[in-house]
């Protein structure tokens, strides 16, 4: 059967193939012939179109040079010759631009040419010609060839009223070139091509576009039937389309003519044997015409189609039959293979379950156990047969829970709906991890349950140990900082719900603990910490939490049922450290501490709120001397100030780290001239940029910087950056200027500062003679011997020294003898009121006199008015610095003339 079918189909296919080869041969010959003829045909069509364009240009030229403009007889003669020569020409038309004001004399003149009732007309969408309402001007047809009763109807047709035509005429006029467009509807044939050529007033064609548009007097139009042009020459059954392109075509080419062979079998044939497609583009003046030509369908190809169709149907039938048989055979084979695979998987699962350490118990939908693996028997310490008679809940009742969970071990629903793994504890002390998984069929109906249990006793013990270590101090065994902070967080959470209970949080910082470590050794120090932890725990166990926060620092949370009790416990804490001693085999140590404390209040929202207060209180306790307890008071001014300083601390740190400080300079000018200054000495001043672009003076930051010992770093920053900018002034007008740099009290005692300065002088190649370091009187006197060493070294290197704010401190002239300074800067507090306060005047006079006696130059600060300047000059003070001379400005601006002029 199959063989017969196959033989028949093969026969058909051979027949189809043979037919195909024969048709293909014919097709190739046809295409060659078509291609050979096509170019000749196209050339003739192109030649016709060029001939029309040429005639139109001649008509336009004759019009332009004629003394009378348009000539009816001439137009008729040329048009007739054109139509006779090219039968595809449907119409040859003259249109005139007519001003409405000239319409009446114009109509009269037209009578001489046989047009007796000239009237501008419009063409409706229905193809009806109607008189046109009055318009300012018209572009009306005044000559129509061939002249027939039908064509004469169009005399007067206003071409301005046909938008596409109006635009084409405008384009042709502007360019003085031929433009071709598709004919508008309802006039000549829709497939006609309209070719337009303009004419102008006067004898000459205007040379610019504007004049051409202004001086147009109409033009000539020829309508060519593309259909006739093609039908005369294109072979039958050819597919042909013609499109015209010009600026009036909104979407590119406008199709004029399209004849395609649309028979369905032809379309199929074209998809098998593609016909020859020839494309030609003609330029017609400023427009272009595209002609697409496809070769005709041959008879041989129709035969081919039938042969191919028969072959394909036969092939289809055979393919469907064979496919059905193969699919059935494969289906049976697949089912058998799947059964075997299922068996293999089942066996593998059972072996796996028997071999794993996890206990697996399965139950049916009634929770009756139907399978247990050996690990389950071992874990539950029950026999296989015994387990198979039980329910899941009866097995689990032998466990107790270790976690805070809603799981009810006596309720099957609770067990089966357990959200995740649960840790259980057996009677024998085994810790078990239980996971319950429901079994569902494909329709989500419950089939049973799988319980997986694992003995995690060892892991559980290890985890508990790690958790304890994470929250406790390794040395003393008491809670660590993390526990302490967690306790504060919980305390804040519950404080609102238990307002009656009062709490206080404290830091305990042991005094001189380092001394014990240094003198008795770290083992003794550790011993002390352990003993102290135990004693404090024993003493305050009922009232709070004790934690070791690190080193010799402890944290203690005290709680009491009322305020008085809390105060009592605080007092106990203070008293505890007044009489606490630590005895070693060799020594007795008195252990004292600084305690900072705050009461928990409603205003505390976060743990940090509490700890920052405790921190401040602890600082205050340390500031007050050793062995002190300080309780935070939000209304205390010292506390507020310290809080403010702490606020500036991160700003300073960020500015230092990110190089955001700025250096300003202020001139120090001679008092020899009261009105004009030519300073060559400037003091470098630190400025801190704010987030809003403003620049702040550093006064409010300085206290914080001093308290947190940042001044040393800040001074070094200034030295580095000032030297760097001074190095940049080399070869500029300010190259030899002198610059003063302030040094703080912390820098005054910095033994490594001299080597730093020396290194920077070399790095930036700065002449030491141009640098003056300013030290405040207070800083020098507070650290006299170290300051003397520093001054001595800096003078040796070539730098000069100024004693800043002189008069504000102890003002002891006696020190001056022992200090080799070059300048005395008189404190501005005395200078600013010098013209009003006789005491200030005398102070300045005496400081200046002493300076002069010791050979030291004097500089007055805060010089804000000309009167102050004048008084200082009278007192023979050498230099002045202040707003009268100039305000501080950015150091790089020294190079800008404008700033120099300000200083001047």
């Amino acid at each position: 059967m199959y063989k017969l079918l196959l033989t028949t189909i093969v026969g058909i296919l051979v027949f189809s193939f043979g037919t195909y080869q024969s048709a293909r041969h014919s097709h190739v010959l046809e295409q060659r012939e078509f291609t050979r003829n096509a170019s000749g045909i196209i050339n003739r069509i192109h030649s016709d179109l060029l001939s029309i364009v040429s005639d139109m240009r001649s008509m336009g030229g004759a019009h332009q040079t004629s003394p009378d403009g348009f000539n009816y007889a001439q137009h008729e003669h040329v048009s007739k010759a054109l139509i006779d020569r090219i039968h595809a020409v449907d119409a040859s038309v003259r249109f005139d631009a007519i001003d409405h004001n000239d319409l009446a004399p114009y109509a009269t003149e037209l009578r001489d040419h046989g047009i007796f009732s000239f009237q501008p007309k419009t063409l409706t969408r229905d193809g009806e010609l109607k008189p046109l309402p009055v318009k300012e001007n018209y572009l009306s047809i005044i000559g129509y060839n061939p002249s027939t009763p039908m064509s004469n109807r169009y005399i007067g047709l206003d071409l301005n009223h046909l938008p596409r035509l109006r635009n084409a005429i405008r384009e042709s006029t502007a360019l003085y070139d031929v433009v071709a467009i598709a004919a508008p509807r309802n006039w000549v044939s829709d497939s006609d091509l309209l070719i337009i050529f303009p004419s102008y007033y006067g004898n000459q064609v205007p040379t610019d576009v504007e004049s051409r548009l202004l001086q147009t007097d109409g033009g000539y139009l020829v309508s060519v039937s593309i259909e006739k042009l093609l039908q005369q020459r294109i072979p039958d059954n050819s597919s042909v389309s013609v499109s015209v392109y010009n600026n009036q075509s909104i979407s590119g080419y406008t199709e004029l003519y399209n004849v395609a062979n649309n028979r369905s079998d032809d379309r199929m044939l074209h998809s098998i044997f593609q016909p020859v497609e020839l494309n030609y583009d003609f330029r017609i003046g400023n427009s272009s015409l595209t002609l697409n030509l496809s070769s005709p369908t041959g008879e041989q190809r129709s035969i081919l189609l039938r042969a191919v169709m028969i072959g394909l149907i036969a092939l289809f039938v055979y393919t469907v039959s064979a496919s059905a048989v193969i699919i059935r055979q494969r289906s049976v084979k697949n089912l058998a293979e799947k059964d075997k695979a299922i068996q293999r998987e089942k066996e593998r699962a059972l072996v796996t379950l028997r071999s794993i350490d996890d206990a697996v118990v399965t139950a049916d939908k009634n929770n009756a156990i139907d399978y247990v693996n050996p690990a389950a028997q071992q874990l539950l310490k029950l026999h296989h047969e015994d387990l198979l008679t039980r329910s899941v809940t009866s097995v689990l009742t032998s466990f107790s829970k270790t976690e805070n969970t809603d799981l009810d071990l006596g309720q099957s629903e609770s067990i089966l709906n357990a959200p995740g793994p649960v840790t259980l504890l057996s009677n024998s002390g085994t810790v078990v991890n239980l996971r319950v998984s429901p079994l569902h069929d494909t329709e989500q109906s419950r089939l049973g349950t799988v319980l997986t249990m694992r003995d995690i006793s060892k892991e559980h013990a290890l985890t508990s140990e790690l958790a304890h270590q994470a929250m406790h101090d390794a040395l003393t065994g008491i809670p660590n900082r993390r526990s302490f902070e967690n306790a504060i967080i919980k305390l804040l959470e519950h404080a609102r719900s238990t307002p009656d209970i009062k709490h206080a949080v404290s830091y305990i910082d042991l005094d001189q603990f380092k001394l014990i470590n240094d003198t008795a050794g770290h083992a003794v120090g550790d011993e002390l910490l352990i003993k102290l932890s135990n004693d404090l725990t024993n003493h305050f166990n009922d009232a709070g939490l004790l934690a070791r926060l690190g080193g010799d620092e402890f944290g203690l949370i005290l709680s009491a049922s009322n305020e008085q009790n809390l105060v009592d416990r605080i007092n106990e804490l203070y008293e505890f450290f007044q009489s606490y001693y630590f005895q070693t085999s060799k020594q007795l140590f008195s252990v004292r501490a600084c305690i900072g404390m705050t009461h928990i209040r409603d205003t505390h929202l976060t743990m940090n709120d509490v700890l920052s207060e405790v921190d401040l209180a602890c600082y205050a306790a340390k500031d007050s001397g050793r062995n002190n307890l300080h309780i935070y008071d939000p209304d205390n001014k010292d506390t507020q100030q310290r809080q403010g300083e702490m606020h500036y601390l991160p700003i300073l740190q960020t500015a230092l780290k990110e190089d955001r400080f700025l250096i300003y300079v202020q001139a120090i000018a001679s008092t020899s001239n009261l009105d004009t200054f030519t300073p060559t000495h400037y003091e470098c001043l630190l400025r801190v940029p704010g987030d809003n672009g403003q620049v702040s003076t550093p006064f409010k930051f300085i206290l914080a910087a001093e308290r947190y010992e940042m001044m040393r770093d800040i001074d070094r920053w200034v030295i580095h950056n000032a030297f760097q900018q001074i190095a940049g002034f080399r070869n500029t007008p300010v190259a030899n200027h002198h610059f003063s740099i302030n040094l703080s009290g912390q820098s005054a005692v910095d033994a490594t500062l001299p080597s730093y300065i020396e290194e920077k002088l070399k790095e930036f190649n700065v002449a030491p003679q141009t640098i003056c370091f300013e030290l405040t009187e207070t800083a020098v006197i507070s650290n006299l011997s170290q300051a003397q060493q520093l001054i001595g070294y800096l003078r040796e290197t070539g730098c000069s020294i100024a004693l800043d704010d002189f008069g504000s401190g102890v003002s002891s002239f006696g020190y001056l003898k022992n200090l080799q300074v070059d300048y005395l800067k008189i404190d501005g507090q005395f200078v600013k009121d010098i013209t009003k306060d006789p005491i200030d005047l005398e102070m300045v006079r005496s400081i200046n006199n002493v300076g002069k006696a010791l050979g030291i130059k004097t500089i007055a600060e805060f010089v804000e008015t000309r009167e102050i300047m004048k008084t200082l000059a009278e007192l023979s003070v050498d230099y002045a610095q202040g707003y009268y001379v100039n305000k501080p400005f950015p150091m790089p601006d020294l190079l800008i003339d404008e700033q120099t002029n300000k200083a001047a």
Binding site: Y200, G202, Q204
Partner: protein, 334 residues
């Protein structure tokens, strides 16, 4: 692997290619001949601009063009004209052009005639009115195109419209205008028309003359160039108030004050001069190129003026003529 000979061959090809391409281009640029254009007037003067446009269009790509404006229309004193001529001679001496093109009379009168008669350097002139006899052209080294205005059709049309034979010519008090009038006078005699010349030195003279024109059948307007304090806007305004008779002109820039215009085309001179210069550059001697005369002219009508004087002209003439746009006062400023 390439052997040594192969590498050498590649190097030679690269060297020849790299050197040959730019050197050809440089050579092409360097070998362009030099054309010097000497204008008697200045840029911005409509007539000169028209000649220059035609000339540059015709010479583009054929030679390197340099232009010298003698500016003798605005600075007409003899000292300036002589100085400008000396500068032209200096430029010719230093730049050494292959051909010199001159436009209008003064370049011919003060440069070509006195210094270059029958010299080796070829000259092409254009824009010289009516005749070149006074300069003795043609020379061995000179050819060009003579400017002829369409005066015959203008006078015929004026006569046909007015049917009058009594006309007035209003023009600047310049030699050029006298020359123009002489031609028109001779042509008018042939047509049996009596025409009187009213030279005007100042703008006020011109206004007075325009006002007095009402005593004639029609008026021929000459060029305003050379009239002191000429105010184009005021002239147009006065003309619209004073005009009662037909006014005709050969100058396009006078159309705002005239009714009909038979105007010359400056670019025709530029185009012809460029064609002649190209011919000379290709090796033809100037004396082998006959002198030519201008042939193109255009027809204008000022419809506003026509309405004011109330004249009726034929529909054919009205349809044929170019219409003067209303806002064209600036035409006559230059």
């Amino acid at each position: 692997m390439l052997n040594r000979t192969g590498l050498f061959a590649i190097w030679m090809v690269c060297t020849i290619t790299i050197n040959a391409v730019p050197s050809d281009q440089v050579l092409a640029e360097e070998q362009l001949p030099k054309c010097l254009y000497v204008s008697s007037y200045h840029q911005g003067y409509v007539w000169s601009d028209g000649i220059e446009a035609g000339l540059r269009q015709g010479l583009r790509g054929h030679c390197e063009i340099r232009q010298f404006d003698m500016d003798t229309k605005r600075r007409k004193d003899a000292g300036n004209i002589q100085s400008a001529a000396a500068n032209v001679l200096d430029l010719i001496d230093k730049w050494k052009p292959d051909v010199v093109i001159t436009s209008d009379d003064n370049a011919a009168k003060f440069v070509v005639a006195p210094y270059y008669r029958d010299s080796e350097l070829p000259f092409v002139f254009c824009g010289i009115n009516w005749t070149v006899e006074e300069y003795g052209f043609p020379y061995e080294n000179v050819t060009g195109i003579v400017e002829i205005a369409p005066i015959t059709p203008m006078l015929q049309q004026a006569f046909e419209i007015t049917e009058g034979r009594n006309a007035l010519y209003i023009g600047a008090e310049t030699l050029s205008e006298q020359k123009n009038f002489q031609r028109i006078f001779e042509e008018a005699q042939d047509l049996n028309i009596a025409i009187e010349y009213r030279p005007t030195a100042t703008f006020q003279d011109w206004i007075d003359a325009y006002q007095s024109a009402n005593a004639y059948d029609f008026v021929v307007l000459g060029n305003h160039s050379g009239i002191e304090n000429w105010d184009a806007t005021e002239a147009a305004s006065q003309a619209l108030q004073l005009a009662e008779k037909l006014t005709v002109t050969n100058h396009e820039r006078m159309m705002p004050v005239a009714t009909l215009g038979y105007t010359k085309m400056p670019w025709e001179h530029g185009e012809w001069a460029a064609a002649a210069a190209r011919q000379v550059l290709s090796g033809t001697r100037p004396n082998e190129i006959p002198l030519a005369t201008s042939k193109l002219w255009d027809l204008w009508v000022n419809e506003q003026m026509l309405d004011i004087i109330g004249l009726r002209i034929s529909q054919k003439l009205l349809r044929k003529a170019k219409k003067l746009p209303i806002e064209t006062a600036e035409l006559i400023n230059n």
